[in-house]
């Protein structure tokens, strides 16, 4: 952090000012002039929270994507299909057993198994041929999409939120002061906050696993140079399978999350594939903290964009990607 400030004082200043403005916007009571200019504070706070929680969901999808890419150089364009598959599995389990938690576990295991099969049966056979692997994932995504359309049809599904998570919760964030002087606090759906907290926990757990354990050390070494790693006697194929299973399983969990606070339908797979692509391009390919940063940026941009400039929301996301590519082609937090 200190090094960043030393090396890029101008950028650090811009970032600090932006954060300060954001904090002021979140915590202060807005003066009437500001409310007249850009609308109610409640709207803004809702958009920010929606953006951050959506960022949590994007992080779950993109972290698996970036992990697989970082280690195996495999641009898994079937990642969106894994997401959707996990969502459908979660939906089936939660309607069958009525347990929301169980649906996460089953979705993780089922999609991780699909990942293991893919890695063993397909990608292992064409190791080192990046382009061909990517083509194969495109083919797989088409096949998966059609199979899922076949089984589940074109309907919208929504995973049932468990009763203990339904309903809003009051946050200690002021939105306005009533004329009687009574403060008005923000109400926000509990389920989104819980899911966001869970994705933060998963993110931290992944970071710890990558930076503090032996397996994590092997994976990090593999990201840097997998040939040398293999030469040191690590059973790299096993590591590949494990990482692919973990990445796919995370996509499966994300599917259940997405199915809970949005909905599942054909086409969601491409949407989330695009989201993870942009997140990973912005954050830096192969970097978990990068995925987290990119996910929050893209989630915020999407939600704030859709509130304040509805017709051009997607352009904002895209512009962020363009700016990052122009200034820092390797992504914000990539090391190279």
């Amino acid at each position: 952090m200190a090094r960043f400030i030393e090396r890029h004082p101008a950028w650090a200043l811009i970032v600090i000012i932006a954060v300060a403005v954001l904090l002021w916007l979140v915590f202060a009571i807005w003066p009437p002039g500001l409310e007249a200019a850009i609308g109610r504070k409640r709207l803004f706070l809702n958009a920010v929270l929606n953006g951050i929680t959506l960022g949590g969901l994007y992080f779950l999808v993109a972290s698996g994507f970036t992990l697989i890419f970082g280690l195996m150089r495999n641009v898994n364009l079937a990642h969106g299909s894994l997401y959707l598959f996990g969502g459908y599995i979660g939906y089936a389990i939660s309607t069958w057993t009525g347990s929301w938690i169980l649906s996460f576990i089953v979705a993780f295991i089922a999609v991780a198994l699909v990942g293991v099969i893919l890695q063993l049966a397909v990608f292992r056979r064409m190791e080192g041929q990046d382009l061909r692997q990517t083509m194969v994932t495109i083919g797989l995504s088409i096949v998966f999409a059609d199979l899922m359309l076949w089984v589940f049809g074109g309907d919208f599904y929504q995973v049932q939120t468990p009763s203990w998570l339904i309903g809003p919760v009051q946050l200690p964030l002021l939105t306005a002061i009533k004329s009687s002087g009574e403060p008005v606090y923000l109400q926000y759906p509990l389920v989104r906050l819980v899911i966001f907290a869970a994705s933060v926990v998963i993110g931290i757990a992944m970071w710890l696993a990558l930076n503090r354990t032996r397996i994590g050390m092997i994976v990090r070494a593999g990201v840097d140079d997998r040939d040398i790693l293999a030469a040191t006697g690590v059973r790299i194929q096993l590591v590949f399978v494990l990482v692919f299973a973990l990445g796919a399983g995370l996509a499966g969990i994300a599917g259940v999350v997405g199915g809970t606070f949005q909905s599942l339908s054909p086409g969601e797979d491409t949407r989330f594939l695009l989201a993870s692509l942009v997140v990973v391009i912005v954050g830096g390919m192969g970097s978990i903290p990068g995925a987290a940063l990119g996910a929050v940026i893209i989630g915020l941009a999407e939600q704030l964009g859709s509130v304040y400039i509805p017709t051009y929301a997607i352009v904002v996301t895209f512009l962020i990607m363009v700016v990052v590519l122009a200034l820092r082609p390797q992504g914000l937090l990539a090391r190279r």
Binding site: L147, L274, L277
Partner: protein, 361 residues
Amino acid sequence: MSLLQSTQFRPDPTTPTTRRALIRAWPEFQNPVAWLVALILVIMPLIANGFFLIEIFATTLILGIIALSLMFLAGYGGMVSLMQLTIAGFAGYMVAVFGVSGNANISLGWPWWLATPMALALATLFGTLGGALAVRTEGIYTIMITLAIGAAFYYFTNQNWAIFNGHTGINTVATPHFWGVDWRADIAFYYVTLGVAAICYFAVQYVSRAPFGLALQGVRDNSRRMAALGFNPNAHRIAAYAFAAFIAALGGVLQVWNYRQISPGSVSVGACIDVLIIAVVGGITRPIGPFIGALIFVLLRTFALDVLIKFGLDGNRFRLLIGLGFLAIVFWSSDGVIGLWERWRRRSASSTQRSDGGRHG
């Protein structure tokens, strides 16, 4: 390794120099099969009725042109761009926006001879800018970035009502009418697409053998060495994107004339990927590949329903069939249908020919 040299005709030393130069530039002229195919294509309106002429052959040629632009980038430049259909769609939208259409509040109503060049220029610019963005990274990153551009454009057309008219798109786009000919009438339109396809095909052939194309192939094979030799790899790549964007834009203009309407569905992510499938299935080492791939794709798309039902299967599983076919091609022949054909021919014609491993990418 050069895929081209390995397939180039080796001239007989006794032929005169001028003729030899011509043959070296255009080896197709020596190939009787090429002449036969050309003849069949020219007299097609005598053989096929309106449905086959437009729905099968004109559509094939249009998709082939768009896939050809991808083939040029992927085969000679080593850059797999998934935004070629997006460029084509952008050109189509621009034709609809600048020209005459049913949505009078959007279309500016320019005559076609003004609207079409405008659309081509804007789409080429769009493709060049996208390319300039994509060349900032390399290899598989290109796929990700161009896919992101394509998807962003798709969602943008869905959201934007001022220019792109949201998800309904722009309907009843006017088609050119001059010299007393309705150029959208079946036979005339077929010849227009055939002419444009032929021009694009030969242009790609020519460029691939011109100094620029050879330098581009050098950049594909070893950009560092090319840079050391004094070439500017990124400038070559961006120029390749510009050339490919122009070809894709031509395809897009033809496509909007063909369907007379354009909507976000025409630039969806699935459609972008279809173009990649067409090029890969046909083979991305030779300009003829995309047209073969397009023919297979269009035939499958048109008749898979009937065939599947005839076998007692669910007719809606066309995309499954396409996906599995694509997987099979990627698995067993890295050079698409052309590669399979070459391999089969080499096997049957024993070992007189030079062996070349059809590598791509």
